[in-house]
């Protein structure tokens, strides 16, 4: 089997990709679908720069084969903005609280934080630090990332309350 057709849903859109089974999900996204938001930082599953959401769970897309995502639903950093492309509260909060510098870890970090806030809408500092412990950042020392995620949680919770 040299190539196969992989059908999946990426950022809400059905796509079909022809790829070798061994193609890593990160390469499928970046090279076949031109979604270059997720990055490769370590190749061994330690850094989390390639983090995407796969069927409702945060995963490291350098540790998943294209063949394994047949029928799956994937969300990348490109897919978390609101209607009309309005930045997600996390995207705003990272900017507002200086939660990034070189930007390389940022897409993985935000997509992880996005799922974390789904799992736990009101995390304390410790929960945030453990929640993003699969994502390395070399620039910020995490302090402002933690602050940004907490601020986004507040923002999102306030918006939910208003809705209700």
């Amino acid at each position: 089997m040299t190539h196969m057709h992989v059908n999946l849903k990426v950022n809400g859109r059905e796509v079909e990709v022809r790829a070798e089974p061994r193609t890593l999900l990160i390469h499928l996204l970046r090279e076949h679908l031109d979604l270059t938001g997720p990055h490769i930082g370590c190749d061994t599953g330690h850094c989390g720069a390639c983090t995407v959401d796969l069927d409702g769970r945060s995963v490291k897309s350098c540790m998943v084969f294209a063949a394994q995502v047949q029928g799956a639903e994937v969300t990348t950093i490109e897919g978390i903005a609101g209607d009309g492309g309005a930045p997600h509260p996390l995207q705003e909060a990272f900017r507002e609280h200086h939660g990034l510098q070189c930007g390389y870890c940022t897409p993985g970090m935000i997509v992880r934080a996005w799922r974390l806030l789904e799992e736990n809408p009101d995390p304390d500092e410790e929960a945030i630090r453990y929640g993003i412990s699969g994502n390395l950042c070399r620039c910020t020392g995490y302090q402002n990332i933690v602050k940004a995620i907490r601020a986004a949680a507040d923002e999102m919770n306030a918006a939910r309350e208003t809705e209700q």
């Binding site: 930045p87 070189c102 930007g103 390389y104 935000i110 699969g134 390395l136 950042c137 995490y142």
Partner: protein, 807 residues
């Protein structure tokens, strides 16, 4: 316009978002949305991929290379070896340190991970398949991985290509594995100070081999356009112009036909200053194949082959009076440079600015001597988030002062206070030859000690030690005090160059007719936020809001020539150029305003964003009005347009400083350390953007934590490298990283146009010392004078074991 006129000067200054404003970063919108453009994001029509075959041996002779099986892999286009590069004379390339480095191993491999062959294929999967099938036959040779043995009589000769050269780029070589000896200071005076001293403390301080490890590895896309003969290389370059010039010199392609572009860079920290074989191979492959070639290293390649840092073995002696007045300092450094001398230092400084090692102290006599040697390790020697060898120097003196404090039985903060250079001594010329531009060290130390309530910390430590003695706890607390002086902003062209390229920097400004602007610089951001901060400098200089100024860097076809971003040189050098270019704009604007207002230039005064007639605030011309007139109104004697360029050759380096205090709790039974508190006071002169400064300090401290507490690229005696993946190379997560407290004083640089000094690297320089001093301090009362880094669990436990704490 009327509304604007009504605004007060203060209101208008605020709108500019200039100096001192915690302006949000303009870079962040694209990064937070996954729209950055890093080198691996670049995709060109017809692009192919290159991948390396690397040496599994630390030292071996290459008996043969068989490419056939690799070439048979579908999609593999070519396999390059040294034999293929020889006709082009590209099998070796010049290093930044005046040595040469094999692009592809020529007959011998000299370190594990060295580049042996370059496989080019249609995609990266086929390239990797090809790499696996290149058969290389090796004859293993004895490896040399202990720098202390490099100059032994019976040491294996590593560099056969230069074995009989007795003269290197930096003077005489005493041994085939010797690179240089470099010294500074007055040897006789320092010896005399030591001989006559009341107290002498002595220590071997080793700063282990580490790696900058930015989250993005190195890589490039090289594209030769055969029709017009132009070679374009997009890559992870911290110094794009220098790369262009060097590329032109080694390929003989005229410099105008080479375009180097640094796109977004995912962190550099010194890793991306050097020129690596991957860049050369990709360029050659593109020239040969006529197609764009991408090369991206993986993390293991990054850690084991490109750009280590440190590996300094520093033997020191420090002399003092009994009451704690330091009288002299000597240091000999054995510098392990690996298999090729590829250190990234200004050419006249083969040991960088290590002679800043008298630190922040008024030491009357000092002498340093550095011997660089070859070993079977990766080349590099980059300034990992510090100016050239400054963190080594700072670590050395800060440990030596603590060692001396033990010997004198004096509080280490007090010993520092007695020896810090007094405010009224600036500009201060050190015994090792630097002119420190400015400082108020005592104020910084006092503020830091007060902020942490230092006496209370010491009292708590004493109580804890007593409880430990009574068997009530197995935790010891250490308090690390560190004071540092950086030397950054290289540098004055009279003594700072890299391969003959003067280390000035540049800014070119073009004001658009409607009063917005673009500024281009010779530097390149790797996360520092230049697009945000340089616009702020300019906003304050020319009165155009920062939001209306585009800052562009990294494309050698458009940016003015400059030496790039490393060694905290962007703000001191390119930031100065920005201010100076802004002042040229303002000078011309003043002439135009004078014409428009029909007054003499001298009758005008600058007011935030406009010129007004002195004594008549109703008669004004805003910068926007002046810009429009500059392009669209015929003004006698003044040519149209409003542009300026400044090439800034700094008169001196800048000398940021700071005082750090670290409190660490050490579990003596497990060796686990817990940073309970870390306070960092930085003085980087004028503060351009406090938010960005704080972010830089957080990040630098986290890197310092990693270095002090765990990072090490180690080799075994056969040349195998350890620490070559992120499983073993310590990058702390959010869980291991403590909360940082930041603070500041402001002592502007007297020679910098806006008084700024640079900050990005200070926290690494000061932080490593503070962590190490704290861990050592935890055991100080038990007789420990110095334990080597990294202070990981194992080594901390071993210290406790040696001190008999495990019963």
């Amino acid at each position: 316009m009327s509304e604007q006129a009504a605004a007060t000067t203060e209101e208008r200054i605020e709108k500019l978002q200039g100096l001192g404003c915690a302006r949000k970063r303009v870079e962040d919108a694209r990064f937070t949305q996954g729209k950055g453009n890093y080198v691996d994001d670049i995709k060109l029509p017809g692009m192919v991929f290159g991948d390396f075959v690397r040496s599994p041996y630390g030292h071996a002779r290459i008996e043969g290379i068989d490419k056939d099986a690799a070439l048979a892999v579908p999609g593999v286009l070519a396999v390059l070896t040294a034999e293929d590069l020889k006709p082009l004379n590209l099998h070796y390339m010049p290093t930044l340190a005046g040595d040469v480095q094999a692009v592809l191993a020529d007959e011998k491999v000299l370190f594990q991970g060295q580049e042996v062959a370059f496989v080019i294929a249609e995609d990266r999967y086929a390239a990797a398949d090809g790499v696996e099938l290149v058969e290389v036959e090796y004859e293993a040779l004895p490896a040399l991985t202990d720098a202390n043995r490099s100059m032994d009589e019976d040491a294996p000769v590593l560099r056969e290509d230069i074995a009989d050269k007795t003269e290197g780029a930096h003077g005489a070589r005493r041994h085939p594995n010797h690179i240089f000896t470099w010294e500074a200071g007055d040897r006789a005076a320092a010896e005399q100070a030591l001989a006559s001293a009341e107290v002498v403390a002595e220590e071997l301080v080793v700063y282990q081999r580490v790696h900058p490890c930015p989250l993005e590895t190195c890589g490039c896309v090289a594209s030769m356009d055969k029709v017009n003969g132009k070679l374009t290389i997009w890559g992870t370059f911290q110094a794009p112009h220098a790369v262009r010039t060097v590329a032109s010199l080694i390929t003989n392609i005229p410099e105008h036909n080479i375009r180097i572009v640094s796109p977004d860079i995912g962190g550099g920290f010194g890793n991306k200053v050097g020129v690596y074989p991957g860049y050369i191979c990709a360029a050659v492959a593109s020239i040969v194949l006529g197609r764009p070639v991408k090369w991206i290293e993986d993390r293991m390649e990054n850690l084991s082959a490109t750009a280590f840092a440190r590996d300094y073995h520093m033997s020191g002696k420090i002399a003092a009076t009994r009451d704690g007045r330091i009288t002299g300092l000597r240091c000999h450094v054995l510098a392990d440079h690996g298999a090729f001398d590829a250190c990234a230092d200004p050419s006249k400084f083969p040991a960088g600015f290590f002679n800043i090692c008298t630190g922040s102290y008024d030491i009357p006599s000092a002498h340093v001597e550095v011997d660089g040697v070859y070993t079977n390790k990766a080349p590099g020697g980059v300034a990992y988030r510090c100016s050239f060898r400054v963190t080594e120097a700072s670590y050395f003196i800060e440990r030596m002062v603590d060692v001396l404090a033990r010997k004198l039985d004096m509080d280490p903060a007090e010993l520092r206070r007695r020896n810090l250079i007094a405010k009224d001594r600036f500009p201060y010329t050190s015994a090792l030859g630097w002119e420190y531009d400015s400082g108020d060290y005592h104020a910084a130390l006092d503020k830091a000690l007060a902020a942490v309530d230092y006496p209370a910390l010491r009292a708590g430590q004493k109580a804890g030690r007593e409880a430990f003695e009574r068997g009530e706890t197995r935790t010891l607390t250490g308090i690390g005090v560190a004071f540092f002086t950086e030397i950054v902003g290289a540098g004055p062209v009279k003594n700072c160059d890299i391969l003959g390229l003067g280390m000035f920097d540049s800014c070119e400004i073009r004001i658009h007719p409607t009063g917005s602007a673009i500024a281009r610089l010779g530097t390149i951001s790797q996360g520092q936020g230049h697009a945000t901060t340089f616009a702020q400098i300019l906003a304050s200089e020319i009165g155009i809001p920062a939001d209306r100024i585009t800052v562009e860097e990294g494309d050698t076809d458009t940016a003015p020539y400059g030496l790039g971003t490393y060694g905290s040189r962007s703000t001191p050098v390119a930031g100065a150029a920005t201010a100076m270019a802004g002042r040229k704009i303002r000078a011309k604007a003043q002439m135009i305003a004078a014409y428009l207002l029909e007054v003499h230039e001298d009758d005008l005064e600058w007011d935030a964003d406009r010129f007004q007639v002195k004594g008549n605030p109703e008669r004004v011309k805003t910068m926007a009005e002046i810009a429009f007139a500059a392009y669209n109104q015929a003004i006698p004697g003044i040519e149209p347009g409003l542009e300026a360029v400044s090439y800034y050759d700094p008169p001196n380096m800048t000398y940021p400083f700071g005082a750090y205090v670290c409190v660490v709790d050490v579990d003596v039974d497990t060796g686990v350390t817990d940073v309970r508190r870390f306070y960092a006071l930085d003085d980087c002169g004028t503060r351009i953007n406090p938010m960005i400064i704080e972010g830089q300090v957080h990040g630098g401290l986290t890197e310092a934590l990693a270095i002090a507490m765990g990072q090490e690229i180690a080799y075994d005696e056969t040349g195998n490298v350890y620490g070559g993946s992120l499983l073993d190379f310590f990058l702390p997560t959010a869980v291991e990283t403590p909360t940082w407290e930041t603070d500041f004083t402001t002592t502007p640089s007297p020679h910098h146009p806006i008084g700024a000094k640079g900050v990005g690297e200070s926290p690494n320089v000061g932080g490593v010392s503070a962590f190490s001093n704290a861990v050592n301090d935890a055991f100080a009362h038990l007789g420990l004078t110095h334990a080597q880094m990294p202070h990981d669990h194992w080594r901390v436990w071993e210290t406790a074991e040696r001190l008999g704490l495990h019963g």
